[in-house]
């Protein structure tokens, strides 16, 4: 199963926020959902997920609570109003980026060397 590249990792916060928009989730559930929905393409390491989740919480983009369900104690993350706003902004930025990225790639002669 491929691990996430740096580029994918940069968008990980948006992916996590997008999942939390549906319902509150705990860490393991987020990793599983990401992998299942992308047919294994987004396979996030735990070492990367938890710092992201904790950052989202500190930035008030997500809020947490411990829940005991079926004898299991888990920390659930839920999207806040600020988190929803951040998701909308981030998703918009990515859509714009993808639009122009595809536009340039599809331009004839786009295979030339690119200096950034």
């Amino acid at each position: 199963m491929p691990r996430m590249t740096d580029r994918q990792r940069g968008s990980a916060e948006i992916l996590v926020l997008a999942l939390l928009r549906e319902r509150p989730m705990y860490g393991y559930e987020i990793i599983r959902e990401l992998a299942q929905r992308s047919e294994g393409y987004f396979s996030m390491e735990e070492g990367h997920l938890y710092p992201i989740l904790h950052r989202l919480e500190r930035q008030d983009l997500a809020q947490t609570e411990w829940r005991d369900i079926d004898g299991r104690r888990r920390r659930y993350y839920a999207l806040t109003r600020d988190g929803l706003a951040a998701l909308n902004t981030g998703a918009g930025d990515w859509a714009t980026f993808m639009h122009w990225f595809s536009q340039i790639l599809s331009t004839q002669g786009g295979g030339a060397r690119v200096d950034i």
Partner: protein, 339 residues
């Protein structure tokens, strides 16, 4: 459970914990509990697919990755967040509250001095502002993650507090020195040391010592028990409540306490200058043997001076209430709004 004391899971968690020592104990515990819960979920899933307990644990740990890397990332993330602007604001909050209280006392002296022909202006004004300036410098230095500047800011605060207390020593004589010297030389440096080392909650605990010492000083100076208790207990409760308040409410609470305290300081100064002092001078004039020089004597502590600490007590009660609601929500005994 595969994260029992002698399991590989426990070894993994211990390895993670060894990288988290710079964090507060509550932060460490939360992180480790969360990782332990994660491991249990992963192990349960592997066992459900037919693995033995040992195989399930091995696979779950393999998926978790390197304990050292996880521990370091989490530690760096939390330390970076602590040094962010909002984090620094929260860490500095107890100091800001103390600074405001000190400023309030000195600000009243300033208002009084303005009408005194032998006034100490701008000394009292500088003294009134000094704790705020000092905390501001410290906050700025800490926010920019510049440790030499942070130390300089801390030294600056100490120097400014020293000026404040030197003024107090002159006013109160040697008996004041006995109380002020330990505050200036021991309590505040320790407080700052704790604040720089551990951040918010432990710093708040350390500051309690400072508050208590300041309360003793106020008692000594004013000789009145109830105002002293109000001054001492008000910020103490406020600081404890702010320290215990869940993080997502702390920012709002900070601005509430900050804005409210300043509003009351301004109102208090206005009341003092235009009403209380006038009444006091009228009372002095009515006394036999009145001399105009007596009107420049600082009036005794009055009820308006207790408003600001009372406001902090109110803030504390509010924050404790908020915390209670949050806990009840976490326990599922109150409905929780999830956006």
């Amino acid at each position: 459970m595969s994260t029992s004391e002698n399991s590989n899971g426990a070894t993994f968690l211990a390895a993670v914990q060894s990288h988290l020592r710079a964090l507060e104990s509550t932060e460490q515990r939360e992180i480790l509990d969360e990782l332990a819960a994660h491991l249990q979920d992963a192990i349960a899933l592997h066992q459900a697919s037919g693995c033995t307990a040992a195989e399930a644990e091995t696979q779950a740990l393999r998926a978790m990755g390197d304990a050292q890397a996880i521990g370091q990332r989490l530690r760096d993330e939390h330390l970076n967040m602590r040094l962010s602007l909002s984090g620094a604001m929260l860490n500095a909050l107890p100091l800001v509250v103390i600074a405001l209280l000190l400023s309030q006392t000195e600000l009243r002296s300033f208002v009084h001095d303005l009408s005194n022909p032998s006034n100490r202006f701008p000394t009292s004004f500088l003294i009134a502002l000094s704790p705020v300036i000092g905390v501001g410098l410290w906050l700025l230095a800490r926010t920019r993650q510049n440790w030499p500047a942070t130390v300089l800011g801390a030294v600056g605060i100490l120097a400014l507090l020293g000026v404040t207390h030197a003024d107090g020593m002159v006013s109160h004589g040697f008996s004041g020195l006995i109380w002020l010297a330990p505050i200036a030389l021991v309590v505040f440096p320790l407080t700052l040391g704790f604040a720089l080392r551990w951040g918010s909650f432990r710093a708040a605990l350390a500051i309690l010592g400072g508050v208590a010492a300041y309360g003793c000083y106020a008692w000594l100076g004013a000789g009145q028990l109830i105002p002293t208790l109000v001054i001492g207990v008000g910020p103490l409760l406020g600081i404890i409540a702010l320290g215990l308040t869940p993080r997502r409410w702390q920012r709002i609470a900070t601005w509430f306490a900050f804005g409210g305290t300043w509003l009351i300081i301004v109102l208090d100064a206005f009341y003092y200058q235009h009403f209380f002092r006038v009444q006091y001078i009228d009372q002095l004039k009515a006394m036999p043997g009145y001399s105009p020089l007596e009107s420049y004597r600082l009036p005794p502590m009055h009820i308006a001076g207790m408003v600001s600490p009372l406001f902090l007590i109110g803030s504390a009660a509010l924050l404790v209430g908020v915390q209670a609601i949050t806990r009840l929500q976490a326990q599922g005994r109150l409905p929780q709004r999830v956006h």
